[in-house]
């Protein structure tokens, strides 16, 4: 470390506290019994306090200037010309991420105290959760690509551990493995991207790379296609971690993990890492607009694909998982059209309302005896009031109903895509908004408003969750309700823009944005009206079909609609058959390939070796016939040899 200032120590504390919490809980948590959460939660609360101080310093006090706080801890890999340090950076982007990560993280920790109260493995759970917080904070604070990659894999590992938390369930173990391996596919690209960066510029520090790589491109040191290649490789990492098409298959399965995990990792924080990565490397993408188009295309395609699947799922957590995919798609689309600030804005608001929705769904699941199938719920709104209200706020927020958080961020995304000339992104985005409102209120209707299908044995035991769980819900609901107002107003000039515009202004202009000013009475107002209207229509349709506060659920009409579009319905219900395709490609064909290669190994390669051996052996066996073991045979041989030699001598020499 260069200097030992307090802020640097606090940055280290952000990492050190959860790590210490992990270590202590892992070692002693088992003996602490039901109190296993104390260390972990205390660590995270402390982290939150420290983080808020640092956020204040960065965003409000501008204590570190526009560049942010950067410092080196120690030299990590000194391999000749390849020098990588463990160094950290804290700028506006990191600070915004810190807000989401530590806030949602803290609330999820507190929620988990209640949610996991009866699980004997709770000490493991809290240890893993702390470990995840460490990894995620490292990801946000890392100041070079390789350290970021470390964190990238470590969050993947925590995700693996937490998805597979209930390891006795085969499906959980399989889902954990799938998540890790699919993530690794993306990581492969990311790793190659890092190699490409080092090979071209010889450094991996963010600051140096972001200045030198564009310079190299300008000076002709590298070709344009190389730049695009680097960007696409980095994007591959983001696709894996943020579960974008075609690597989206792991996220729905990841719902096998405990619900707080789904809220924290698979909704609010880790899956956003891809968005963070693209935003972080925006100076590179600015030089490769073609790569940005790919980002936008993948993003918006994932958005509509996932939304279409979310329409028909019946597992409450899976609906939310596909919704997450869809919202992440929005963020990538936003990044792709060059609207970085709205993307991060949506990341923040989505972090709050999706975290809220997941925690709420956990509360619902808890109340109906761990049942996740929405077909076995219904009419819960009277029974679990707090959960219902908070989830309603979350649903309205995600549907984009003003003035809740989702409205502001989603609207900025759609508005910017339209204004930046990506009409197709805007068009699909509006459809997705419609679908979002629809499937969310389908979920609300089936869970809370429609007729009850709860198991009669469970029915009497439906109960509101303990305070450990409801207080985080309430806090998150408040955040989901007001985050948009606080950060997003005035339009295009709110806090979030004040914080992040300095970071992105240079690169946002690449795609032609930045010049136009916001006009509520002009084009922007029209766009806002359109998207709001669309969301309202989706909401209304869902309401008609699935009910709202007990009014008008119409099962017959639902059946009629599904019958009408039977092909689409089944395809959506089967997730467009991606899992089956993967199963065929990688499990079956891959398995056959592996088995074939093993056969090759044993029979061809080793067969050759053993063939040589048995050839030697059989020729030896043949020759062994000579070795009769009868001494007289040998003696005769000696005599014969003697005679031959003597005759030879006589014939050849004596004459």
């Amino acid at each position: 470390m260069d200097t030992g200032s307090l802020d640097q120590w606090l940055v280290l504390a952000l990492l050190g506290l959860p790590l210490a919490g992990f270590g202590l809980t892992a070692l002693f948590g088992r003996r602490m019994g039901t109190k296993a959460w104390i260390i972990a939660v205390a660590a995270i609360v402390a982290v939150w306090v420290a983080a808020m101080y640092l956020v204040d310093q960065t965003l409000f006090q501008h204590a570190y200037g526009d560049g942010g706080l950067h410092f080196r801890l120690y030299e990590w890999i000194p391999a000749g010309s390849f020098q990588v340090d463990v160094n950290f950076g804290l700028d506006a982007l990191s600070a915004v991420m810190l807000i989401v990560v530590t806030s949602v993280g803290m609330l999820v920790h507190i929620y988990s105290v209640g949610y996991m109260a009866h699980d004997p493995g709770r000490w493991r759970f809290f240890a893993y959760l702390n470990f995840f917080m460490f990894s995620m904070l490292l990801l946000v604070l890392a100041d070079n690509f390789l350290l970021l990659f470390v964190a990238w894999e470590l969050v993947g590992l925590s995700s693996y551990l937490l998805i597979g938390f209930w390891y006795r369930r085969r499906s959980a173990a399989l889902a954990a493995k799938k998540a890790f391996i699919v993530n690794r596919v993306g990581d492969l690209g990311f790793a190659l991207g890092i190699m490409a960066i080092w090979t071209t510029v010889g450094t991996l520090n963010f600051g140096d790379v972001f200045t030198r790589l564009p310079q190299l491109l300008a000076s002709g040191g590298i070709q344009e296609w190389q730049m695009i290649g680097i960007c696409l490789l980095i994007f591959a990492g983001a696709v894996g971690k943020s579960a974008q098409f075609p690597l989206h298959v792991w996220l729905p399965d990841a719902m096998e993990g405990p619900t707080p995990v789904s809220a924290l990792i698979h909704a609010a924080t880790m899956v956003n890492a891809g968005v963070y990565l693209i935003a972080r490397t925006n100076p590179l993408f600015a030089e490769a607009p073609e790569a940005l188009v790919v980002v936008a295309a993948i993003g918006i395609f994932t958005a509509i694909l996932a939304a279409s699947i979310a329409l028909t799922q019946t597992d409450i957590k899976r609906v939310l998982a596909y919704s997450t995919l869809s919202q992440l798609g929005y963020m990538f689309a936003s990044l792709g059209v060059g609207a970085y600030v709205p993307a991060i804005f949506h990341l923040v608001t989505h972090g709050f309302f999706k975290g809220l929705l997941f925690l709420g769904s956990g509360s619902v699941i808890h109340s109906v005896d761990e049942e996740q199938d929405m077909n076995k719920m219904g009419a819960l709104w009277r029974r679990i009031g707090i959960t219902h209200v908070t989830m309603l706020i979350g649903s309205l927020a995600i549907a984009g109903i003003p003035p809740l958080a989702g409205f502001f961020s989603k609207d900025e995304i759609l508005g910017d895509s339209f204004k930046n000339g990506f009409i197709w992104v805007w068009g699909i985005g509006v459809v997705v908004a419609l679908l979002t409102a629809f499937y969310m209120f389908r979920l609300m209707g089936k869970t809370f408003y429609g007729p009850s299908h709860v198991d009669p044995h469970v029915e009497p035991h439906i109960h509101e969750s303990p305070k450990w769980m409801t207080i985080p819900l309430i806090l998150l609901a408040i955040a989901a309700a007001v985050a948009g107002l606080v950060l997003g107003l005035p339009f295009d000039g709110g806090l979030i823009h004040q914080w992040l515009d300095p970071l992105f202004s240079a690169t946002e202009s690449v795609l032609g944005h930045g010049g136009s000013t916001f006009q509520i009475a002009g084009i922007d107002g029209v766009l806002i009206l359109v998207s709001t209207a669309v969301a309202a229509f989706g909401l209304f349709a869902a309401w008609r079909l699935f009910g709202f506060f007990g009014i008008g659920p119409q099962a017959a009409r639902v059946a009629a609609v599904t019958d009408r579009f039977k092909g689409l319905y089944t395809a959506s219900k089967n997730k467009w058959y991606f899992d089956d395709l993967n199963d065929l490609l990688f499990v079956r064909i891959g398995g056959l390939l592996a088995a074939g290669l093993w056969w090759f190994d044993v029979h061809v390669i080793d067969g050759t070796v053993n063939g040589i051996a048995s050839l030697t052996q059989s020729s030896g066996r043949g020759l062994r016939q000579v070795q009769t073991g009868h001494v007289q045979n040998y003696a005769l041989g000696i005599a014969a040899g003697l005679i031959v030699i003597a005759l030879g001598y006589i014939v050849l020499v004596t004459r």
Binding site: Q627, H630, Q632
Partner: protein
């Protein structure tokens, strides 16, 4: 003829050949040992003959022959003891049934 080295050497050679035949052809271990004794005697005869006809040897032939006899005696002792020991294990003096060295 008695003054001719060749005669003794040829005689020795014939005796040696007879011994060789016996060693190669007989199945009985003791018969083989007897054949070996014949061969040893043949060699001894050659040695003594050389000792007699080559002046430089000055009686060395006799000395060598005595040594050979001593060694032959030792060989016969040990050889016969081995034959008896094997016979006790295998109940047969026939060597072509002794083939445990093979496997």
């Amino acid at each position: 003829m008695t003054g001719n080295l060749d005669a003794y050497l040829v005689l020795s050679g014939l005796l040696f050949s007879i011994g060789t035949f016996g060693f190669l052809a007989r199945r009985n271990a003791i018969a083989m040992l007897m054949s070996v004794e014949l061969m040893v005697n043949a060699v001894n005869l050659a040695i003594v003959a050389f000792g007699t006809f080559v002046p430089e040897l000055k009686g060395q032939g006799t000395v060598i022959a005595l040594f050979v006899m001593a060694v032959a005696a030792a060989e016969a002792t040990v050889g016969l003891a081995i034959v008896i020991a094997i016979y006790r294990n295998r109940r047969t003096p026939l060597v072509d049934e002794y083939s445990s060295m093979r496997d």
